[in-house]
């Protein structure tokens, strides 16, 4: 009995982390990234964007911050229409299958170093599951996301969703390869799959893409890190581009492609089921940005090795969390910026880019990293 209770208290910490991260941070961020998308795209195109909705029944508009709530309410109240010609089971399963993998991967995302609470002896590690196979877990789960889209396309039993589903599956499978290969140089350099450890190393030695630490005011850079910047930069470009393809964002949004396929794989969906697809895309985008930040831009750490990992002070722990989310938000804005600047690729161009360029470049990049690591090997 006692053992049971001690196991139960052991569940409290992860539960708080899951609820805190997923329900209080990621999901509101998903809702508000839709708002950010609309406002920022408007600014990029000389428009205004939604700036009216504020507190209901008052004239307070708060620059339109009430818009996501109103949109959510609208989606819940809309008629949830299930067409007659669909395969009901898979049709109902598909929206959940796109949202769940996107949210699952955030389990291994280190959103801060440690949090030392007053009156508690052990500092909390700010990651839901500190897995030693972190990145592999991410790839394993994230590639499940394609099932949702393929099922949606197939179960809808209609022409355009089917084409969208087919496009999506081949696109996501193609880019998964270059996505995986582009991460390998990072793993080679840090010699670890655990994302927390990778960030900790970046915290000590400078970010992967900014390998500078400050000794007083004198910058310290090693030749090895400077040379490694070349493969890391190539990796970064491939990783980010593949991320765009994986999340079906605009330069590669052929599965939706409203000019050709009506709405792609979610043509037959309405109400909250459609919203799940819509929000799943944004959730994937947020988590993807989180991983890009974690792997290449130092995760929760400040540049130049400033601050500590928060093991001994609450202040630095909170600063690290703030740093992480600032970086993620900046990255999401970058996503939006790209979406509203670059036109869509043709499908053969997309395949060519994935298979003919990125795949080979990523492979050569691994060799290049290995050569540089060989050159500066100790002992």
């Amino acid at each position: 009995m006692l053992e049971f209770f001690s196991q139960l208290t052991g569940l409290i910490e992860p539960t708080i982390k899951i609820v805190g991260l997923v329900f209080l941070v990621i999901l509101p961020m998903v809702a508000y990234s839709v708002y950010a998308e609309r406002r920022f795209s408007a600014i990029l195109q000389d428009r205004v964007g939604p700036n009216r909705v504020g507190i209901p029944f008052t004239k307070v508009s708060l620059a339109g911050l009430g818009q996501p709530m109103a949109d959510g309410l609208k989606f819940i109240l809309k008629e949830d229409f299930t067409p007659d010609h669909v395969r009901k089971v898979y049709y109902w399963l598909a929206p959940a299958l796109t949202m769940v993998p996107a949210l699952l991967t955030c389990a291994v995302l280190p959103f801060g170093g440690y949090l030392k609470l007053p009156f508690v002896d052990d500092p909390f590690k700010l990651v839901i599951a500190d897995l030693d196979v972190g990145i592999l877990f991410v790839f394993a789960i994230a590639s499940l996301g394609v099932y949702g889209i393929v099922l949606a396309g197939w179960a809808s039993n209609s022409k355009y969703p089917f084409l969208g589903g087919v496009r999506s599956s081949s696109q996501m499978i193609s880019y998964e390869i270059s996505l995986g290969l582009s991460v390998i140089p990072i793993l080679m350099i840090y010699g670890d799959l655990n994302l927390s450890n990778i960030v900790q190393q970046q915290h000590e030695q400078g970010w992967a893409l900014l390998p500078i630490t400050l000794d007083g005011f004198k910058p310290v850079v090693s030749m090895r890190d400077l040379l490694l910047l070349i493969p890391l930069f190539i990796s970064f470009i491939i990783f980010v581009t593949s991320l765009f393809a994986e999340t079906n964002r605009l330069p590669f949004d052929l599965p939706e492609c409203e000019t050709e396929l009506v709405a792609g794989y979610h043509t037959e969906y309405s109400s909250m089921k459609f919203a799940l697809f819509f929000l799943g895309e944004y959730a994937a985008m947020i988590i993807g940005s989180g991983f890009a930040v974690t792997l290449f831009l130092g995760g929760w750490s400040l540049p130049f090795g400033w601050g500590t990992n928060g093991e001994d002070s609450l202040f630095w722990g909170l600063v690290n969390v703030g740093t992480f989310f600032t970086k993620v938000i900046a990255f999401i804005l970058f996503f939006i910026w790209v979406r509203w600047s670059i036109p869509r690729f043709r499908y053969d161009q997309l395949m060519r880019l994935g298979w003919v360029f990125f795949f080979e470049i990523a492979l050569v990049n691994i060799l290049l990293t290995a050569a540089i690591l060989m050159l500066f090997r100790q002992g």
């Binding site: 990029l44 000389d46 428009r47 600047s341 670059i342």
Partner: protein, 176 residues
Amino acid sequence: MAIVVKRPKLSIFEKMYLPAIGKGLLITLSHAIKILRGKKKVTMQYPEEKWDANMPEHYRGAPALVKDEQGRERCVSCQLCEFICPPRAIKIVPGEIPSDDPWAKVEKRPKEFDIDMIRCIYCGMCEEVCPEQAIYLRKDYAITGLSREEMVHDKERLYEIGGVREGLVNKWNELK
């Protein structure tokens, strides 16, 4: 005849694609910066900001009846506007002016004058046809209402919108 379109020869920079993406990103960013710094303004926030001050003289808004400088109704209910109105928005019930009225010589004035603003197409035919210059298209454009009845402007409302216009037709005045 098939037309052969020559593919443009791309320079190495254009073939690399990334510089072109960078250029595109910079263009959108420059727009964003201009908007954020308030250097460029495209959209008007409608109910708060209005274009009223810049409305051209010939703007055709809601049609309305006007009075002259002596407070007399200009309209003599000849019903020409009712007949010319293409969507048949105007309905006039003519009435006689009693003989003890100072303007008894005009003989007729409208008893009722309704313009259905749901039907009105703001064409300005009524203004053009009016021999008394009694009906004018004013600059009111936001005609709203919660019911069909509310959208019908009666005589009182029409004079309220129209107001007074001076020095147009003076044929009913005393000879000097």
